[in-house]
Symmetry: C2
Subunit: 514 residues, 2 copies
C-alpha cells in the first residue's frame, strides 16, 4: 500500500475536476475516532484461553463446511487440512497461523483523501445501516425501498458529520433488477458522496464489477495498490461458508480489497444459547474464514466480524441491544485483539417498529457497548429499525447525532494543567458561579458535546413550538438536510465513464428479480 | 450492626402481623445487583494522583463554607482545621484521615428482611426518581404532583421487579403543606411498600420525625442499632455546606442512619467546564462532607455521591446522558473506590419533555455508564423526565424494565463446562440449528434477559394490535400494575401508631406552603 501523500488519483488529474471542485459546497465530517480510552475487558485470561482452545477443538474435530467450492477445498488440502467431502477439518493451530499474515490495521481510501479511514488499532470507523428491504418515515410509513430511497440515504450519510463511511446496501433498491442494482448502488456511493464505501457481495461477478468501477473512479493502478472497498462477507453460521460469499471474498482478497468476515449469529438459533459457547463458535468461524482469505492472498486486509443478536424464545424474533449481545461483543473484541485483527461489531440495533423509546434504549445500549468493546468498524451505526428489516430516515439522523457522543467519549479525559482548572476553582470559590469565569469562557465551546437534534429548550418554548417528540424533530432535520444537499465535485469524465460502464453492463443481460 | 439472622423487629412480634401476612400477595423483587464484571476505569493512576492532590490543595487553600452552623465550625476547629469566619480550611490529609472511619459497606434494612440491601462493595442498589414537582402521563399530561401521584409511584416501585428501593421524594406532593408532607411521604413508603426507603432532609426536625417513625415501624432498639434509612444530603456546589442539609446530616449521623453526601453539579455552572476540574471539586466536596459526618459520629454510614450533568451553553439548561457526565462518573467511581466508600451516581437521566427516543438514548447512556462506573447506590434509576422536573408514570415502568438489563450484564459470563456448550456445537454441527438441541432446551429459560414491556412481535401482529409505541405500551403496563396492586401486610397496630404520630405532628403546627 502506498502512502497517502504520494498517491495519484484519476480524480485529481484533470482540469475539469479542479474546476468542479471550486464550485462545491463542503460539509464538515469528523475524522474517524481514535480512542484515547481503554477497552472494557469482561473476560479474564483464563476464560479467553479456554475459548481459544475450544475453538481449535471445534475446527479440528467438527470442522467447517465450504459448500460448492472445490477450489476452496483444494486450497485447504494444500494448506494441510483434512478435507472429507465438503467438510474441512483444520488441525489445531493451523488457522491461527494462517491468520498471522492478515494486517492488524489498514487504510481504506476514499475519493476525497480527507475521508480516508484507518481500520484497526485504536480506531473506530462508523458506517450506516446495511441490507434492509424496507424503509420508513413519518410521511410515508413503512414501504419497500427504492433506488430513490437509497440515494436519499447516501446523501444523508454524506452530510452526517459523525459518519465516516458511506456504507454499502443502505437499503435494497427493490425497484431495480437484482442482478443490476449493485451497479446503481455503487454509482450512487461514488457520485453522491466522497466518503469510503463497500462493494457488492451477492455474486462474484458483482464483486468484479465493484473492482472495475473503482478502477474508473480511483484509477486502475491506484486500486491495484490500495484498499478502496471494505465489503461484508457473512458466514452462514453455524460453521458454513457458502460459495456466493466465498466467491466474492476470493475476488476481493485477490484484488487486495478488504472484507469483513462475519459470523451472523442469532444466539440460540445459529449458535449455542450460552455466551461462552457462542464466543467459541464465533472464534472458530472467524479463524476459518480469515485463514481462508489468507490462503487466497496472504496479506489481504480482513476484519474479524461478529454480528450478534439474541432470540426471543416466545416469538422466535431476534432481539437487540440486549445484555447477552453486549457480553458477546465485549468478549469477541478481546478475542479479535488477541488475534491482532481489526474488529467489526455493534450498530444502531433495535427490534422496535418505530423510532421510539424502545428503539433508542436498544440502540444506545448497543452503541455504548460498541465503543467500549473496541470495535474498529461499526456497520449499521445509524438508521436501523425493526431488526434490520427497515431503514428509517428519522432514525438515521437520530442515531447519526448520537454517534457524536462516541467521538466525545473516545477523547478521554484531558489532564492538562488548563483542564485541571485549579485557577478557576480558586477564582470562583465557595458559593460562586462558574459561568462567567475566565476558564469557562475560554473553554465552553469545545468542552461539551452538543446535539444538533435533541431538545434542550425550556418547557414553555418547546410547547409553543408544537411539543415535538424526537421523531418529529428528526423528520424536520431530514427535510432540512435534503434541502441543502449538494453533490461533491467529481470529474465529469469519470462520471461519464461510470455511466457508460453501468449502461453497458445493464444492457448485457436481462433483468432478474430473484 | 446486628446480623440479619438475629434481629428482632416489631413487625414480627404480633399475631396480628402474622395474620395479615397470610393474606398478602407477594411480588417478585430481584435481589440487589452484585457485580461479577469489572469496573470501567477511564483514568490512570497518575491522573488519579493529580486529582487527589489538587483536591487536598483546594481544601487547604480555598477551603469550604459551613453556613449558619457554629456547631460545625467548632467541630472543625477541634479537629485541627483553620476556621476563618464560616470558611473552613482543611489541612492536607486531614479530611481523608477522618473519612477512614466511614464503613466501606453497610446494610440498609427493610421491614421485609428479604428486601434488605447491601450498599457498597461490588453491589448496586437501584432506587427511583427523587424530587420532581411535576408528574406526567399520557392521559393527564404534565401537572403538579399530588399525594395521590406519590402513592401511585410508591405502589409501582413496590411492584417493579428490578427496583430494590422505594426511594424518598418520588415526587413532591404539592397538595400537602411543605412542613407536613414528609409525614405523609414516610407513611406511604412504610405502609404501601416493604422495600427500604429514604428519610426527610428538608429540615433537621423532619429528619427527627423520620427517625421517630422508623422507631414505630422497626422498633426503637432496632433503629438504634441498625441502618434503616439512606437519605440524600446535597452539597451546595461549589464548596458550600448549608445549615439545613448539614442539620439533617447531623441528625442522621447521630442516629447511625446512612446519608448520601452528594455534590450537585451542573458542569460549567457549579463546577469548572472541564472533567478534571469537576472531578477535583467533587472530590474536595465529598472529602469535606464525609469527614464532617465522621466528626459528628465516627463510623456513621455514608455514601460518596456525585450528581453530574452538563450545561447547554445556548439555553443554560442542564443536559443529561452526555459523554461529559459519563467521564465524570467513571472518574468519580475510581476516586470513591480509592477512598473505600460506597458510591452513588447515575440514574435514568434525560432532558426530554416526553418519554421518547431522546429520553431513552440519554437514559440508556446514563444507566450503562452507571453500571460500569461501579455505582453502589443509584438514585433516580427510573421515572426521570425533563431534567428531573417531571416524574413520568410511563417512563417509570419503561426504565424499571431496562434495569433488568443491568442485572443480566452484571452476572458476567458463565464459563462453566455446561456454558462452554462444546457438546451442543458438536451435536448441531455445520449448517444445523440450535433451537431444538438439548443444550438450548435445558438453558433457554434463564439464558437471555427478557423485557416485560418492549415489543418483539412480528410486524403484522404489532400492527393489528394498534401499532403502539413504547409510551403506549408503558401506559398499558402502568394501568395493569395498578389494577393488581395489593399492599404488603403490616401489623395493624403499627399502622395505627404511624397514623397517630402523623396526626399528632400535623395538629401541632399550622400549615406552611413555602
Amino acid at each position: 500500500m502506498t502512502d497517502t501523500t504520494t498517491r495519484k488519483r484519476a480524480r485529481s488529474g484533470g482540469g475539469a475536476a479542479r474546476r468542479a471542485e471550486r464550485g462545491a459546497v463542503s460539509f464538515e465530517t469528523a475524522r474517524f475516532i481514535t480512542r484515547n480510552i481503554p477497552d472494557y475487558e469482561v473476560l479474564g485470561e483464563e476464560a479467553l484461553d479456554i475459548i481459544e482452545a475450544n475453538a481449535e477443538t471445534i475446527l479440528e474435530e467438527v470442522g467447517v463446511n465450504f459448500v460448492n467450492n472445490p477450489g476452496a477445498l483444494q486450497r485447504w488440502r494444500d494448506a494441510g487440512a483434512d478435507v472429507k467431502g465438503e467438510r474441512v477439518h483444520i488441525p489445531r493451530g493451523l488457522a491461527r497461523k494462517l491468520c498471522a499474515t492478515a494486517p492488524s490495521q489498514f487504510t481504506q481510501h476514499a475519493r476525497n483523501p480527507e475521508r480516508d479511514v484507518e481500520v484497526g488499532g485504536r480506531n473506530l470507523v462508523l458506517a450506516p445501516i446495511y441490507g434492509p428491504p424496507f424503509v420508513r418515515d413519518t410521511a410515508g410509513g413503512r414501504r419497500y425501498a427504492t433506488m430513490a430511497d437509497f440515494e436519499k440515504f447516501v446523501k444523508l450519510g454524506y452530510m452526517s458529520k459523525w459518519l465516516h463511511h458511506s456504507g454499502g446496501t443502505v437499503c435494497e433498491p427493490t425497484d431495480i433488477a437484482v442482478n443490476k442494482r449493485h451497479l446503481d448502488m455503487l454509482r450512487a456511493h461514488m457520485t453522491l458522496s466522497d466518503k469510503p464505501f463497500m462493494g457488492s457481495v451477492t455474486d462474484p461477478d458483482r464483486a468484479r464489477d465493484s473492482v472495475e468501477m473503482c478502477g474508473i473512479l480511483f484509477g486502475k493502478d491506484f486500486v491495484a495498490q490500495n484498499t478502496v472497498m471494505t465489503s461484508l462477507i457473512n458466514i452462514n453460521s453455524p460453521l458454513t461458508f457458502d460459495d456466493v460469499m466465498m466467491g466474492a471474498l476470493e475476488v476481493y482478497a485477490e484484488a487486495g480489497q478488504a472484507c469483513i468476515i462475519s459470523p451472523f449469529i442469532v444466539g440460540g438459533a445459529m449458535a449455542p444459547v450460552s455466551i461462552a459457547g457462542t464466543l467459541t463458535q464465533v472464534l472458530a468461524e472467524v479463524l476459518a474464514g480469515v485463514a481462508y482469505s489468507q490462503l487466497v492472498r496472504p496479506g489481504a486486509p480482513v476484519i474479524f466480524g461478529a454480528f450478534v443478536s439474541s432470540i426471543d424464545m416466545n416469538s422466535g424474533a431476534p432481539t437487540f441491544g440486549t445484555p447477552e449481545a453486549s457480553h458477546i461483543t465485549y468478549g469477541a473484541g478481546q478475542l479479535a485483539r488477541r488475534l491482532g485483527l481489526p474488529f467489526r461489531s455493534a450498530g444502531s440495533f433495535c427490534g422496535s417498529k418505530l423510532p421510539d423509546a424502545q428503539a433508542a434504549y436498544e440502540t444506545a445500549n448497543s452503541l455504548n457497548m460498541g465503543l467500549l468493546s473496541g470495535v474498529n468498524f461499526m456497520l449499521h451505526s445509524c438508521g436501523w429499525l425493526e431488526g434490520g428489516l427497515v431503514a428509517s430516515f428519522e432514525k438515521f439522523v437520530m442515531d447519526a447525532d448520537q454517534l457524536g457522543t462516541l467521538h466525545q467519549l473516545a477523547r478521554g479525559i484531558d489532564m492538562s494543567e488548563d483542564a485541571q482548572a485549579m485557577d478557576a476553582i480558586r477564582e470562583v470559590g465557595p458559593g460562586g458561579h462558574y459561568l462567567g469565569c475566565a476558564h469557562t469562557q475560554a473553554n465552553f465551546k469545545t468542552a461539551f458535546w452538543k446535539s444538533e437534534l435533541l431538545d434542550y429548550k425550556p418547557f414553555e418554548t418547546w410547547e409553543d413550538e408544537g411539543a415535538r417528540d424526537t421523531q418529529a424533530l428528526a423528520a424536520a432535520r431530514v427535510e432540512k438536510l435534503m434541502a441543502t444537499y449538494q453533490a461533491p465535485a467529481l470529474d465529469p469524465a469519470i462520471a461519464e465513464a461510470l455511466d457508460a460502464y453501468v449502461a453497458q453492463k445493464k444492457a448485457a443481460e436481462p433483468d432478474a428479480f430473484m
